[in-house]
C-alpha cells in the first residue's frame, strides 16, 4: 500500500462522502458546503496526478467563484429546508437501486476492461503549466477566444436578468 494509494483512497472517500451528503442534506446551504468539500477533494486528486495548474484553477474558479455564486443565491433567496413531497412511490423504491445499478455497471465495465491504460505519473516541475499554456494558445486558440465570447454573453445575460422591470 504505497503512499499514493493511501492518499487516493482518502481523497476518494472524502469526495464520495461529500456527494452523498450533497444528496442527503435537507438544507441547500449544507449541500453547497458538501459540494465545496467534493471540489477540494477533486483538486487534491488532480494534484496527486500531477496536474497542478488544473488543481489550482479548480479551487480558485470552481470553489472560489462559482460556489460563492451558489452560496450568495442561497443566502439572497433565503432558501430554507426542502419540502418533503412524495409524489411517486415508484421513483423512490425503484429509482435509487436503478441508478446505483447503472453506476455499478459502468464501474464494472471499466474495471474489467482489458485495455491496459498506462498509470498516471506526476510529470516534472513546470512542464505541465508550460505545455498547457503553449497548447492553449496555439492549437486551441479558437476555442479560447470563443469561451471569452461565451463569458461576455453570460455577463450580459446576467445583467439583463438582474434588472428590475421598470
Amino acid at each position: 500500500m504505497t503512499g499514493a494509494l493511501v492518499i487516493f483512497f482518502a481523497l476518494a472517500a472524502l469526495a464520495v462522502v461529500g456527494s452523498i451528503s450533497l444528496i442527503v442534506q435537507r438544507e441547500p446551504i449544507h449541500s453547497a458546503l458538501s459540494l465545496i468539500v467534493v471540489m477540494v477533494a477533486l483538486a487534491g486528486l488532480y494534484l496527486l496526478m500531477g496536474a497542478e495548474f488544473v488543481a489550482a484553477v479548480q479551487i480558485i474558479v470552481y470553489g472560489g467563484a462559482i460556489m460563492v455564486l451558489f452560496v450568495f443565491v442561497i443566502m439572497l433567496l433565503n432558501a430554507g429546508e426542502e419540502e418533503r413531497t412524495n409524489f411517486s412511490k415508484l421513483a423512490t423504491f425503484a429509482g435509487i437501486p436503478l441508478a446505483l445499478a447503472v453506476t455499478g455497471f459502468i464501474a464494472a465495465a471499466i474495471a474489467h476492461s482489458s485495455a491496459s491504460l498506462p498509470a498516471p505519473e506526476p510529470s516534472g516541475a513546470l512542464t505541465s503549466t508550460k505545455t498547457l499554456s503553449m497548447l492553449l494558445f496555439s492549437d486551441f486558440v479558437y476555442p479560447f477566444e470563443l469561451t471569452s465570447f461565451l463569458i461576455l454573453v453570460a455577463i450580459l445575460g446576467a445583467i439583463v436578468l438582474a434588472q428590475r422591470e421598470n
Binding site: E27, I29, H30, L33, I36, A43, E52, F53, A56, I59, I60, G63, G64, A65, V68, V71, F72, M75, L76, A125, L126, T129
Partner: protein, 409 residues
C-alpha cells in the same frame, strides 16, 4: 539516531510548523499592541500604557479576557455554519503561511534547511486558492448568525472580497511574466541582481537577465486590492464600529471572535509577506552583494535599540518596568553583539532579517493607514474596484507583456 534521520522528512516540517505558529501568534498579539499604540500616537494620545511597561502586557490581558468571557450560542443559528465559519477563517489564514519563504536556504550541520514549510513550485497559486476560499469564512458567518445586520454585512463583505480578488490576481500577472515561474522562491531569486542590489527588485525592474520591467503599477494595484481583501481601513465598511453594528461578526463573542481577529491579523501578515516577496525582493538585501560590510547592519540596529531600551527602562515609573525593560534591552544588545562575534550565525540570518524588516514596514503602513484615512462608502468602494482597479491591472498586464516580449528579442 537512524530512526531520527529516517523520519526526518516528517519531524522537520512538524517542528517548523510549531515554531511558525508560535511566532505568528505572538506577532499577531503584539501587532494589536503596535496598532493601538501607533493609532493612539497619531491621534495625540497614549494608547495602552498601564498593563505592563508601555502597555506591553496588554495582549496578554486581552487573551485572558477572551478565555474567560462567556461564549454564547444565539438561538436558531445554523449550527454547522456557525461553528465552521471562524474555524475556516483561522485555518485558511494560518495555512497560507506554509508556502512563504522567509529566507534563503542555509546549511545547518551539513544538511540544507529551507526557511519555508512547503516549497512547492506553484506556491503563488496556492496562496491565491486560499485567498479565494477565504470568502466563505465571512459569508457563512453572516448567514449563520440569524441576524439581518450580520447577513447584510456578510454579503457586502464577501462581495467586496470577490471584486477585489480579480484585481489582486491580475496585478500579480506582471510579476509572473517577468519572473517566469509560480514559485515564490524563484521569483525572489529572479530579483537578485548582485551589482545593483536594490534596483533589481521588481518595483524598479533592473533584473539580471534584462527581461525586467518596473512593476510599480502592479504594486499599486496589488496593495490596494490586498487591503480590500483583508477588510482593513479604508475598506472596512462591512465591519466598522459605526456601521451595521459589527458586520458579519456581530453575533460572535469571546473565543470565536478571537479566531476571526487572529485570522484578520494573520492575513495582514501574509499580504505583507507577499508584497515584499513579489515586489520588493523578499529576503534580498538592498545593498549590492559586494558591500560585505553591510552584513553588520542587523547588529548596528540591534545594539543601539537595546541600549535605548535599557536607558528608557532605568527611568521608568513603575518598579516592574525598571526590572523588565532593562532586561529586554540587555537581551537585544546581547543578540546584536553575538551576531558580530559569530559571523556564521550572522550570515545565516541575513535573509531573514531583511525579510522581517520589510514585512514590518508594510505592517506599519497598514496601521498608519488605519489611523489616518477615512473609510470608503460601499458604492464608492465597488466602483473603485471594478471601474478603476481592474482596468488598470489589465493595462499593466498588457504593458508588461509588450515590454517583456520586446526585451526578449
Amino acid at each position: 539516531m537512524s530512526l531520527l534521520t529516517q523520519y526526518a522528512f516528517l519531524i522537520v516540517p512538524i517542528v517548523k510548523v510549531a515554531v511558525l505558529v508560535l511566532i505568528v501568534l505572538t506577532v499577531d498579539a503584539y501587532l494589536t499592541w503596535i496598532e493601538r499604540k501607533v493609532v493612539a500616537h497619531i491621534q495625540s494620545r497614549w494608547g495602552p500604557h498601564r498593563v505592563g511597561p508601555h502597555g506591553l502586557l496588554q495582549p496578554l490581558a486581552d487573551g485572558v479576557k477572551f478565555i474567560f468571557k462567556e461564549d454564547p450560542l444565539p438561538a436558531n443559528v445554523d449550527k454547522v455554519a456557525y461553528f465552521l465559519a471562524p474555524f475556516l477563517a483561522l485555518m485558511l489564514a494560518l495555512t497560507s503561511l506554509a508556502v512563504i519563504p522567509f529566507g534563503p536556504d542555509i546549511a545547518v550541520l551539513g544538511h540544507r534547511l529551507t526557511f519555508s514549510i512547503a516549497d512547492v513550485n506553484i506556491s503563488l497559486l496556492v496562496l491565491f486558492s486560499i485567498t479565494a476560499l477565504a470568502v466563505y469564512g465571512v459569508a457563512l458567518a453572516g448567514w449563520a448568525s440569524n441576524n439581518k445586520y450580520s447577513l447584510l454585512g456578510g454579503l457586502r463583505s464577501s462581495a467586496q472580497m470577490i471584486s477585489y480578488e480579480l484585481a489582486l490576481t491580475l496585478s500579480v500577472v506582471g510579476v509572473l511574466l517577468v519572473a517566469g515561474s509560480f514559485s515564490l522562491r524563484e521569483i525572489i531569486e529572479h530579483q537578485a541582481n548582485g551589482h545593483l542590489g536594490l534596483l533589481g527588485w521588481n518595483i524598479f525592474g533592473f533584473t539580471k537577465d534584462g527581461v525586467g520591467f518596473t512593476q510599480i503599477i502592479g504594486f499599486f494595484c496589488f496593495y490596494i486590492a490586498a487591503i480590500a481583501e483583508t477588510n482593513r481601513v479604508p475598506f472596512d465598511l462591512p465591519e466598522a464600529e459605526s456601521e451595521l453594528v459589527a458586520g458579519f461578526h456581530t453575533e460572535y463573542a469571546s473565543m470565536k471572535f478571537a479566531m476571526f481577529f487572529i485570522a484578520e491579523y494573520t492575513s495582514m501578515i501574509t499580504i505583507s509577506c507577499l508584497a515584499t516577496i513579489l515586489f520588493f525582493g523578499g529576503w534580498l538585501s538592498p545593498f549590492p552583494a559586494s558591500w560585505t560590510f553591510t552584513h553588520y547592519v542587523p547588529s548596528l540596529l540591534l545594539i543601539p535599540l537595546g541600549l535605548w531600551v535599557i536607558f528608557d527602562g532605568m527611568r521608568y515609573e513603575t518598579i516592574f518596568g525598571r526590572i523588565v525593560l532593562p532586561g529586554v534591552g540587555t537581551v537585544l544588545a546581547a543578540i546584536g553583539a553575538g551576531l558580530i562575534v559569530f559571523p556564521v550565525v550572522n550570515d545565516a540570518i541575513q535573509g531573514v532579517f531583511w525579510f522581517l524588516a520589510k514585512v514590518f514596514t508594510f505592517l506599519f503602513i497598514y496601521v498608519w493607514m488605519r489611523g489616518t484615512l477615512p473609510r470608503f462608502r460601499y458604492d464608492q468602494l465597488m466602483s473603485f474596484g471594478w471601474k478603476f482597479l481592474l482596468p488598470v491591472s489589465i493595462a499593466n498586464v498588457v504593458l508588461t507583456s509588450a515590454v517583456v516580449l520586446w526585451r526578449m528579442h
